[in-house]
């Protein structure tokens, strides 16, 4: 099945399944194909493509509805295998992956997609476990939403991930100063100023900040930040990361008691937020 990205009528596309897919699942898809075609809203030819990997047809539908304001182009895959294939073949702009697929562990799906593609991955999970989040983020997932999710939250995160992926390339090559509110960060000159006043960061604080900024909008696990700042050979002082972050916040955050630039993902890691 040809899957050109510019097909304007392709408001809902079905990803090819390997042999042996159950008939009821396909039937369900056929029915919803017809309802999807009734959706008369215009679809932009270059609209972003989102791939939803979920074995529950109802949740796929809910996700598609939730992303109504993000994009109208949604691919669906009912299991991990098809999902991994579609992620590399259809070249989506975002993958929404539900855990608890019948054929593959979520961590493995993340890892396999990440081997072939840098597409942002948002994970949906019924469990609220920090360990699971850490494992998924370390395996290459970019964000994490707990079921039952808020439509607005999922849409916001989807938008943020798509935008981040698109601007990442441009931002890393330009190397220009980053402005967050009254804060100006010059990544080349390694200088940070607020309202024109130069701030003094220790080398480690600077490294932490630039690591977070390089992946702005993406949650980095404690381990990922630590590896980037100290390198793998260090073992012990990982725990001091949190103290350094607190000190860094006192310097750059307008209100360190309510951080808005470096966000804590409880039990998981930190994320730099630029969109203000």
């Amino acid at each position: 099945m040809p899957q050109g990205k510019g097909d304007a009528r392709d408001s809902l596309r079905i990803v090819d399944h390997p042999a042996g897919v159950d008939v009821t699942g396909d039937l369900d898809r056929v029915v919803r194909c017809s309802t999807a075609n009734l959706d008369t809203r215009p679809v932009m030819p270059d609209a972003d493509l989102v791939l939803v990997i979920d074995d529950e047809p109802q949740i796929r539908r809910a996700v598609r509805d939730a992303l109504r304001d993000v994009t109208a182009r949604v691919d669906e895959a009912a299991n991990g295998m098809t999902g991994v294939d579609a992620a590399s073949n259809a070249r989506p702009d975002l993958v929404v992956l539900d855990l608890g697929l019948p054929d593959m562990a979520g961590v493995d799906v993340c890892r396999e997609i990440r081997q072939k593609s840098a597409v942002p991955i948002i994970v949906l999970s019924a469990r609220h476990s920090e360990h699971e989040k850490v494992d998924l983020l370390n395996a290459g997932a970019d964000d994490y939403v707990t079921k039952p999710f808020s439509v607005l939250e999922l849409a916001a995160r989807a938008k943020a991930q798509i935008r981040r992926a698109k601007t990442l390339a441009a931002a890393t090559t330009s190397g220009g100063p980053v402005t967050i509110g009254s804060l100006v960060i010059d990544t080349v000159a390694r200088k940070v100023s607020r309202n024109g006043t130069q701030l003094h960061l220790t080398p480690i604080e600077w490294q932490i900040l630039s690591t977070l900024l390089a992946s702005a909008g993406r949650t980095l696990t404690h381990q990922q930040i630590f590896d980037a700042v100290w390198g793998r050979q260090f073992g012990s002082p990982q725990q001091y990361l949190r103290v350094h972050i607190t000190n860094l916040r006192r310097k750059i955050e307008p209100d360190p008691a309510a951080p808005q630039i470096i966000i804590t993902e409880p039990g998981v890691g930190y994320r730099a937020e630029l969109s203000r």
Binding site: R68, G100, L124, P148, V151, R242, R250, P256, A258, T264
Partner: protein, 492 residues
């Protein structure tokens, strides 16, 4: 006789008599054998030893030999009869041991432990020839329970058989650990041991010093229990005690197994509740919210109720974790500021316009502690939600962090009505809801009990205090620690 005296030597005569005596003693008759010995001695002395015709006159030397003959005969008789008695006893004991061993193996391998008790009662009854025998097990929970052997001849009704006094006897025996026996069952421990005829007897059954039940025997007329039977009773009552104990252990094991099964089932149900309810809830919430965003008010109500169901489901899961020890905390080095910041961020917008005012001393070095960040955040968010729920909308909520001794103290202060004296002692119990609380908050009432459990797992606690000037202060205490400047610089 005169002729024979010349032909037969005195020694031959003695040997013939000795044979007769030994023959008599093998027959088991000690009296006959001794009589024969004495007769033999006297006739040999009289007839075969010169001067003939008298027993002891003028026979100094040979008489000694005759006396030796008499002594030999008597001793031999004694030894033989004793050996025979012992052989008979040994045989009886062998039979006894054999029957006990058989009974032991039978009872301990009986399919149901209760069957084994009935079987033992039956064996005791037939062996001792009593008309009725029953074994009564006893435990705290269910009191006495009787296991009767086959009763010979009477209706098997305890109440008909036993008078008031006798019905009390088992309890007395159990409590005292002493035997009750006698013609009618009154306390008379001596009657049994003295071998007097008895009609009723109640014996305590003891395992490792614990009385696990009693053995009750009765007969229509008084019977005398000889030593062998008393010994048998002694041995078999030990088996009976073991069997009673086994009945108890089997029942306990079955009960524990049933509990385990129920617990396992509960876990499975809760796990599937978690997964199976969340999937439809996700769909309902997402679709309803999408509709609600288009202005559909019914959809907004559906979404609200889906949220409420979700909270109840997670409360249920928390309850199962609370009981099953499913909560885990991994304390790590964290800063108080980070925790306060995360709590402020997580609750932003949840309480309408009401601000959460964070109070932190930014001039001193950052406060550090050793705690589980995610679990501690749950606690603080829970305390903040409670404060928002129970205090007037216009009043701000304050969240402060400070160090007191070797603890970090996170305090959530509101200007609500506070907690009544009577409620204050119970607010940390699961499902407790203060009398003044809103009747329907859509929560199971687990928040504070879970908060406290989570805090205690990290070496901290949660406390309540009335706030001066009105309101409540809920405090989370967590272990504080220090980070040396050098250590921090070394890591930099």
């Amino acid at each position: 006789m005169m002729q024979a005296r010349d032909v037969i030597d005195q020694v031959h005569v003695i040997l013939v008599y000795l044979l007769l005596v030994l023959g008599a003693s093998t027959s088991g008759e000690r009296l006959l054998a001794i009589t024969l010995s004495v007769l033999g001695f006297m006739s040999t002395a009289y007839f075969f030893q010169p001067p003939y015709g008298s027993i002891a006159d003028g026979k100094p030397l040979d008489f000694v030999a005759l006396v030796a003959f008499l002594a030999t005969a008597i001793v031999a008789t004694h030894l033989l009869t004793r050996a025979q008695t012992e052989a008979r006893e040994a045989e009886a004991r062998a039979v006894e041991i054999q029957s006990l061993a058989k009974l032991g193996s039978e009872t301990l391998s009986a399919g149901r432990a209760a069957d084994a008790l009935a079987r033992i009662a039956e064996v005791i009854q037939t062996t001792l020839g009593m008309s009725e025998c029953s074994i009564m097990s006893w435990d705290e929970a269910s009191g006495f329970r009787a296991y009767a052997g086959a009763s010979a001849g009477h209706a098997d009704s305890d109440d008909m058989l036993l008078g008031v006094l006798e019905r009390a006897a088992p309890a007395w025996v159990r409590a005292s650990g002493e035997i009750v026996s006698g013609p009618s069952g009154e306390h008379d421990a001596a009657a049994l041991s003295q071998g007097e005829p008895i009609q009723k007897i109640v014996i305590p059954l003891t395992v490792q010093g614990r009385v696990v039940g009693v053995l009750r025997l009765s007969n229509l007329s008084p019977v005398q229990l000889d030593l062998a039977k008393r010994r048998f009773l002694d041995a078999i009552s030990y088996y009976a005690a073991l069997a009673v104990d086994r009945v108890r252990l089997v029942a306990e094991a079955e009960h524990a197994e049933a509990l385990r099964e129920a617990d396992r089932l509960k876990d499975i149900v809760l796990a599937s509740v978690s997964h199976d309810l969340r999937t439809p809830l996700t769909t309902i919430k997402a679709l309803a919210q999408s509709e609600a965003l288009q202005g559909n008010r019914s959809a907004a109500a559906i979404e609200e109720q889906a949220d409420r169901l979700t909270r109840l489901v997670s409360d249920l899961l928390d309850l199962s974790r609370l009981k099953g020890g499913g909560f885990a905390a991994t304390p790590e080095l964290n800063t108080a500021e980070d925790l306060v910041g995360a709590a402020v961020r997580q609750t932003r917008g949840l309480f309408g316009d009401r601000p959460v005012r964070a109070i932190i001393d930014l001039d001193s070095p950052a406060l550090v502690g050793y705690f589980d960040f995610a679990q501690s955040l749950r606690i603080i968010v829970n305390l903040l939600e409670n404060a928002a729920r129970y205090s007037p909308p216009a009043q701000p909520i304050e969240l402060s962090a400070m160090r007191e001794g070797d603890m970090l103290v996170f305090s959530v202060a509101d200007r609500g009505p506070g907690v009544d004296e009577g409620d204050a002692a119970h607010i940390f119990e699961p499902f407790y809801r203060a009398r003044s609380a809103a009747p329907d908050t859509g929560r199971a009432g687990l928040g504070l009990s879970i908060a406290k459990t989570l805090a205690e797992m990290q070496g901290g606690t949660v406390k309540y205090a009335r706030r001066p000037g009105g309101g409540s202060i809920f405090s989370l205490l967590l272990p504080a620690t220090e980070v040396g400047v050098e250590a921090l610089e070394q890591s930099a």
